[in-house]
Amino acid sequence: MNAKGQSRFEHRGIRWRTLAAVLAMVGCVTWAPREALADSAVSQMMNYSVMTGLFLEVGKAEYSGGHHNPGMPIATGLRYYERQGIITGTMTAIAIMVAGAAAASSPKSQRSWESGGYRYTETTYRSEAEKAAIMAGSAAGAGAAASSKNQSFDLEIFSRNLGGDVSGWRMNGYFGIPFADRFMFELGMGVGSIDTAMKKNGQDIYVSWGYVGMPFRLNYANEIFLLFLETQWNWIGHAQSSKADPYIEPTTNTMLLRYAPVLPWKVGVSSNLFGRLFGELDVSTPGILTGSFALKAGLGLRF
């Protein structure tokens, strides 16, 4: 609370700005001359490109409590989105090499027995040839991962300093399988940690969200729009009760919630305008049957 008794997270009329941003984006894409958009979606999907900019998400998103959150959280942040690049491959290559080195230096077998009141252990180590074979295998795997053409990387940093209620980050790395000319199916690994602090009808609401899991994304590039359908299978959700129970702290009337839905879905569209401008719109739900939705708009530049 500040001196006037207002919470930092109280509604400050940002919804009008949200609406304006969304309308501006829809307008740009709808009324832009066709030649300014020519085949930009295929180029964006199939070529090395980096998109970066700001985003704004309003609604019951999976990280801010979904349908358990009585309020309408606002998320603002910064996005870094790479397609057909190197980040996912490089990180995977490092993981493979570390795992390979650990495997190569681990003992091959161990047996122990007792005799005359003493305990004996016999350890068999891998031969140099076996170590070399493991390392060669992991080097080949690492090389393949790093040089894989179809990979993408998506990093979102949520910040309250930009006016939202949400703080944290989410990162997804994908490897892609292109098919039927204009489609690409992607799957990979993702992690994230986000918290939401807001106020609704005089009640403080605090939501904590964690994400370790696998994203799956289906992309379709028509001439102008890159359409996608995505789910991020969150393993942390399996460790929690699927019906998250909000806890109301009685003395301060604060609602505390830890909620990570297992299969949030997202459908969206992105487009490049005049080569450089990048816009994306998507609708997400923390679960198909929850009936809750969040709308996200992003605007930035393509490099």
């Binding site: 190197i86 490089t90 106020k199 003395t251």
Partner: protein
């Protein structure tokens, strides 16, 4: 012939040539592998080795450090819109003379920091194979004695007069992008960090520049809002909860650190 025809190569300068050659052989192999158009460090370099003296405060306690720093960047990928992308990375090793008051440094007394990032150039200007201006943005991650962190780094570099280039870097680690060692089982504990560096390069020739830099790191450990809220969540039903999660951010313990460095860029 080259040596005798140049007045630059005096006897005393020639004496240190073996040292430079040794340093170049040991440290510039990544640079040698990069063509001119693939370089991504400074204005038109690939790799640098520098030494630095640091002073300032950590957790309110004064201290100093001596650091050897090696870093570089290669940008060999080009987008259809003509921006270059690739990898940057580096490491720092040295003496860490700060008190480890909170006992959260790994191997305190020994300073270490490794990082890797993925820059993409934003705007560049080139004239006849000579780079005049470059700017880039890079997300990255690192491990140091203090914490594991992610960062976003912005860079601009420009040629100001013949042979002299300047570079300005800003690297930002948000509070949520940092985890202090040994706190994996507790509430989130990390620090926000901003790191500004100004460097000047003086080109001895096409392949070697001298580099002088000054950097200013500002870090902040306290973010009472999220830490207390996380603690409250951990205790959940058993302990009384303070609603300080909803207070404005009050950052009180800023630690300022400064460094002066000197070295060679290849």
């Amino acid at each position: 012939m080259f040596i005798s025809s140049s007045s630059f190569w005096t006897t005393s300068r020639l004496r240190v040539v073996p040292l430079w050659l040794l340093a170049a052989c040991l440290l510039s192999s990544p640079a040698v592998a990069l063509d001119r158009e693939n370089r991504g460090f400074g204005l038109d370099r690939a790799f640098a080795v520098t030494g630095a003296y640091g002073f300032g405060k950590r957790a309110g306690e004064p201290g100093q450090s001596f650091v050897l720093r090696a870093e570089g960047a290669g940008l060999w990928m080009t987008t259809p819109l003509n921006n270059r992308g690739g990898i940057e990375g580096g490491m720092e090793l040295g003496y860490d003379g700060f008190k480890d008051t909170n006992r959260d440094a790994a191997l305190s007394g020994f300073l270490w920091d490794f990082w890797m990032g993925f820059p993409i150039t934003l705007v560049e200007k080139e004239e006849g194979h000579e780079m005049l201006f470059t700017s880039s943005l890079a997300p990255g991650m690192g491990l140091s004695g203090q914490h594991a962190y992610v960062y976003i780094k912005g860079k601009i570099a420009a040629k100001i007069v013949p042979k002299v280039a300047m570079e300005l870097n800003y690297q930002w680690t948000p509070y949520t992008g940092s985890v202090i060692w040994g706190t994996d089982t507790g509430p989130h504990s990390g620090f926000a960090m901003g790191f500004l560096r100004y460097a000047t390069y003086y080109a001895l020739n096409e392949d070697i520049s001298l580099m002088v830099y000054f950097d200013w790191r500002q870090s902040n450990i306290d973010d009472p809002r999220t830490t207390t809220a996380d603690q409250a969540l951990q205790q959940f039903t058993s302990e009384p909860y303070s609603s300080s999660a909803f207070l404005p951010i009050t950052r009180t313990r800023w630690d300022n650190n400064y460094r002066i460095g000197f070295g060679v860029a290849f």
